[in-house]
């Protein structure tokens, strides 16, 4: 961290992120993002904004876990969240569909706007939030039910009972699992391999047709072959869904993501901080922040 370049803010071409400098005394009031045309060469993608996250700060009890995160997530793109362990990646993504609510002491300051509606507003119902923003977890967690019932369970709850077989098949096809399981839909999901289980969890999530799919390190517990099939799957899925994926694997982010956010652990306060957010090729080829460069070139983390 000794070769930190102090003037990074000035060179950031894309102002989705306002990196908070520790030396910056006015940090409490982040500068509003200027129009994105500044860089000229690479215009802001003409995409609808799904998430508009403003000054998100997360606490667990008295401990601050994530600091001042401000960024926008765009429709039908794959947005990767990378960074060293403990940098708040999981906290960040789990805050997008209120999965952290059940953690004792969880508190979130700032705003998470989803299509303009505050996810943490009093009138917001978190079941409704999760119905639109699905999530797949680090470890495959199929229910101890049959393969079919794993996929059909949530649609049944939602009352989407017409053409249920068709819906299940469509979800399993989308998750590229149909061919492997179509002859044993009544078999317990626990009999599948780890990679198959994870694809089943993805099928389960898309069976209710969410608007956004959050993937929290979905391939970290899988072997390379299963990982590759999950990555292929993401390319297919982004035509229909907005995807946010947390990964500790930089190559994976480079392969699948359109946009990448790099989080780091503040070395002094041990709080997760968003360092840089940009198009994936920018993050990996010429990042603006030295910390990002150190991380993606393997000098750190």
């Amino acid at each position: 961290m000794t070769e930190r370049d102090p003037d990074v803010t000035g060179t950031v071409p894309n102002q989705d992120v306002v990196p908070r400098q520790r030396i910056q005394t006015t940090a409490a009031v982040p500068v509003p993002a200027p129009p994105p045309q500044i860089a000229g060469a690479r215009p802001e993608p003409a995409r609808a904004t799904v998430f508009d996250i403003k000054d998100m700060t997360v606490f667990y009890g008295t401990k601050k876990a994530l600091d001042w995160t401000t960024l926008k997530i765009y429709r039908n793109l794959v947005t990767a969240v990378i960074g060293p362990s403990g940098c708040g990646k999981s906290t960040f993504i789990r805050s997008l569909n209120r999965m952290n609510d059940s953690i004792p002491g969880f508190r979130l300051d700032g705003q998470v706007l989803y299509h303009g509606h505050d996810i943490y507003a009093g009138a917001t119902n978190r079941v409704e939030v999760r119905r639109r923003i699905g999530m797949v977890f680090q470890r495959p967690n199929p229910f101890p039910k049959s393969i079919y019932d794993n996929v059909a369970w949530a649609p049944r709850n939602l009352g989407l009972k017409s053409n249920l077989d068709e819906r299940v098949e469509r979800a399993l096809r989308s998750a590229t699992l149909w061919g492997e399981v179509k002859d044993r839909l009544k078999v317990s999901a626990l009999s599948l391999s780890g990679g198959q289980q994870q694809r089943l969890c993805i099928a389960r999530a898309i069976a209710v047709e969410p608007d956004v799919l959050l993937l929290d390190e979905p391939a970290s517990a899988l072997d390379p072959v299963a990982t590759a099939s999950i990555e292929d799957l993401m390319h297919e899925l982004k035509n229909r869904y907005t995807i946010v994926i947390v990964t500790h694997n930089m190559q994976q982010a480079a392969r699948v993501a359109d946009r990448t956010a790099f989080f780091s652990l503040d070395p002094h306060e041990h709080v997760g901080t968003l360092v840089e957010y940009d198009d994936t090729n920018v993050i990996f080829s010429h990042p603006a922040d030295t910390r990002t460069r150190d991380y993606v070139t393997g000098r750190f983390g």
């Binding site: 569909n97 999965m99 059940s102 004792p104 079941v127 409704e128 999760r130 119905r131 639109r132 699905g134 999530m135 797949v136 977890f137 470890r139 967690n141 199929p142 229910f143 101890p144 039910k145 369970w153 949530a154 709850n157 939602l158 317990s188 626990l190 009999s191 969890c201 389960r204 999530a205 209710v208």
Partner: protein, 327 residues
């Protein structure tokens, strides 16, 4: 020079080591044997219970055979004994207790494991278990003085008016509230803490990942419970229920106080009746003849078989449950 001295030294070392190993194993052997002997005592007690109860029941078994189970008569002065009234009463009181206690206990367990705030959980959990600490003689006395009159005045008329026409088991209220129904209610109080604390422990073992997986699919709290928590613990809950049933079948004193110790089978549950355990407790103090003592042992044998059977059944479903969890 080193070689010759090394040999005796190593021999000495080996000797010392052997000595130590011998001493060590001897001490451990004694301790292990002592512990095993304690276990043997427990096993012996179990066999001895079976032996004593069977041999005490033997004359009655020889005289009445299995017909004892179907005979409704219990007439010590005429040396005629049958268990049918008590079997019926035991079945009815246990059914009443289980019908009320199982849903109640599961609801309590769900509340304690999944819904209650932490502070409430640590306060209410032990309170519910404390119900099991009330001595049965006190609960029975309370049932006699407070519960039976209340049931007689409020519950029985209500059930009779509401369902009496359809279900003859809800007959007209009698002169007192001492009845199979009240006996079942007292048993409910005794089995709720057992089933609810066992079920709560089961619900707490459901992996958080499963619950989160369900929540992330836009499921409500109840849907998570019904769709994930209950299905993955169902056999354990069944085992807990069976253990509760075993308790209900065998309870004597509390039931004795409120069941009215009737001698016949009535259609209405609001009439008096008797249970196996209550009959033993009632008759054992003043038996009129030797055959009655043997008949009482016969009743105890039936209870013993029921107790062992429910326990083995609970163990077998609990084991199946363990297997299904580890796949």
């Amino acid at each position: 020079m080193s070689a010759p001295s090394a040999a005796p030294k190593s021999r000495l070392m080996r000797f010392v080591a052997n000595r130590r190993a011998a001493e060590r194993s001897r001490g451990d052997l004694i301790m292990g044997a002592l512990c095993l002997a304690a276990g043997l005592v427990a096993a012996l007690v179990l066999f001895e219970i079976a032996y004593q109860v069977i041999s005490g029941a033997r004359p009655a078994i020889d005289k009445f055979g299995l017909g004892f189970l179907g005979n409704v008569e219990w007439a010590p002065n005429f040396s005629r004994f049958g268990a049918a009234v008590m079997l019926y009463g035991t079945a009815v009181t246990s059914v009443i207790a289980m019908v009320i206690a199982v849903p109640l206990s599961i609801a309590i367990a769900l509340y304690l494991a999944m819904l209650a705030p932490r502070a409430v959980r640590t306060a209410v959990g032990p309170l519910v278990e404390m119900l099991a600490a009330i001595p049965s003689v006190i609960l029975g006395f309370w049932g006699l003085i407070f519960l039976a009159p209340w049931v007689h005045a409020h519950v029985e008329p209500f059930l009779y008016d509401a369902f009496g026409g359809l279900l003859p088991i809800f007959g007209p209220p009698q002169t007192t509230g001492l009845s199979l129904f009240t006996g079942g209610l007292i048993l409910t109080v005794m089995v709720v803490p057992i089933i609810s604390s066992l079920s709560r422990d089961l619900f707490l073992t459901v992996p958080n990942e499963l619950k989160e997986g369900a929540e992330a699919l836009g499921a409500t709290r109840w849907e998570v419970i019904r769709g994930v928590v209950l299905p993955s613990t169902i056999s354990g809950v069944a085992a807990a229920t069976t253990l509760g049933l075993g308790r209900a079948l065998g309870e004597s004193i509390a039931v004795l106080s409120v069941v009215g110790t009737g001698a016949t089978i009535h259609t209405s549950w609001f009439q008096t009746g008797n249970t196996l355990a209550a009959r033993i407790a009632q008759d054992i103090q003043y038996p009129v003849n030797q055959l009655q003592v043997h008949a009482i042992f016969y009743l105890a044998l039936i209870l013993l078989v029921l107790g062992v059977a429910t326990n083995l059944f609970a163990r077998s479903i609990a084991r199946r449950y363990d297997v299904s969890r580890t796949i």
